[in-house]
């Protein structure tokens, strides 16, 4: 097992603030050139979303509530997806402490997707097209994947890289809040906060120390880097 958990990039999601609006899902798809598979495909499970909002209905009529939980790749410290890939297409970045997916190495065995307890990975079932003028929306910082390749949330590593390069060029450290993945940037209730968990003064570290903090499927020992805050809203009384 890994040594005393190393940390760098992490994310806190406040479930009491999340209202399930799916803005984060949309923003993620646009930022990362995620293909639009169509309604039927998504209903069958061929959807390409990197980030999904799990919705659970609770209660009996007329006291029904919906619980929302945005789930994306948890960037596990002891990721079950990594050792099972036969070609090292997914491995642990020691510098960034996130799980890296290498598109041009993936041969599509889909073992990583089976082994992920969070069902966070998606697979390119087909070659998708962006007919003109839709191809103008593609983000040039992110590869467009062809069929047969696994993909998943990368904590917008292209934005992390850009911030690190800018900071290095200016001879300083990356400031807290400088890196905003697309989901954090677009959330209207600011339920998603991203930052450096290794810095005890960053916003994400302070929120992670909250009494409401929990991790998803924590007892599996995967050491996820996404912390959920839950249990302080009116609805739970």
């Amino acid at each position: 097992m890994s040594e005393a958990a190393k940390e760098k990039w992490g994310m806190v999601i406040d479930l009491d603030a999340c209202d399930g609006c799916q803005a984060c899902v949309t923003a993620c798809s646009l930022e990362n050139n995620v293909a639009f598979a169509g309604e039927e495909s998504v209903a069958y499970g061929h959807g390409m979303h990197w980030l999904r909002i799990q919705r659970y209905w609770e209660g009996e009529y007329p006291n029904i509530t919906a619980r929302y939980r945005p789930v994306m790749c948890q960037q596990c410290g002891a990721a079950p997806c990594e050792p099972v890939c036969p070609v090292f297409a997914t491995y642990h970045s020691e510098a960034e402490q996130i799980n890296v997916q290498v598109y041009n190495r993936c041969i599509g065995t889909r073992y990583c997707a089976n082994n992920c307890p969070y069902e966070a990975r998606t697979f390119n079932w087909f070659d998708f097209e962006w007919p003109e003028p839709l191809n103008a929306q593609l983000n040039p910082d992110v590869t467009v994947r062809r069929r047969g390749i696994m993909e998943k949330c990368t904590f917008c590593i292209q934005r992390i890289r850009r911030a690190e390069e800018d900071a290095k060029a200016e001879g300083r450290e990356v400031a807290d809040g400088e890196v905003q993945p697309a989901c954090a940037q677009s959330c209207p209730t600011q339920a998603i906060v991203f930052g450096n968990l290794a810095d005890p003064k960053s916003k994400v570290s302070r929120l992670a120390r909250s009494a409401r903090a929990e991790k998803l499927l924590e007892d599996l020992g995967t050491e996820p880097k996404v912390i959920y805050l839950k249990g302080g809203s009116d609805r739970d009384r």
Binding site: G77, A79, P83
Partner: protein
């Protein structure tokens, strides 16, 4: 070694008892063990024929192959991650269970490949040159191939026929 001219001959028998008897007769004529050879369509043990044991190096070759493959598997299992380390799943770089599994498989592959190649090597296979042979052997008869000096041929032929040979003749080596 004498300068007498010798030729290869073959006698064919239907029963193990007869050929064992025939081998005795040949020894009485002074033919050496190395100049006698038994060919058959099914395995007959050396003891049944009264012949010296045939030594086979196949087990040694097999062991050599096992050790060679073991070394290759250690190189793959430990050499490649040490040279080009990639961290996965919070597991150590040189984990023990995968090492055991792969080392076992690759070593067994080496054992079996070298056993197979060992048979080919020891039997000098494949060899398509001319040989002393007659299809009666695969028809179920047992063949006795021997070299005898020309002046003793007739006497030996007679002795073998008495011992139960179905036929005895001088043979030319031919491609099979």
């Amino acid at each position: 070694m004498s300068e007498k001219s010798t030729h290869a001959h073959m006698a064919v028998f239907a029963k193990i008892d007869h050929i064992a008897e025939a081998l005795e007769r040949l020894r009485e004529f002074g033919i050496q063990e190395k100049d006698m050879s038994v060919i058959s369509g099914y395995p007959i043990s050396d003891e049944m024929l009264g012949r010296p044991m045939v030594w086979s190096n196949v087990p040694k070759i097999a062991m050599g192959g096992f050790i060679g493959a073991f070394i290759i598997s250690i190189a793959l299992n430990w050499g490649t991650p040490l040279l080009y380390p990639i961290h996965v799943g919070g597991q150590p770089l040189l984990p023990v269970p995968p090492t055991i599994i792969l080392t076992f498989e690759i070593s067994m592959l080496g054992l079996m490949l070298s056993t197979f190649l060992g048979v080919l090597w020891e039997s000098l296979f494949p060899s398509y040159g001319p040989k002393i042979y007659h299809p009666d052997v695969s028809h179920g008869k047992i063949g006795l191939v021997f070299t005898c000096p020309d002046d003793q041929c007739a006497a030996i032929h007679k002795a073998l026929t008495e011992a139960g040979a179905e036929w005895v003749r001088q043979m030319e080596a031919k491609p099979l």
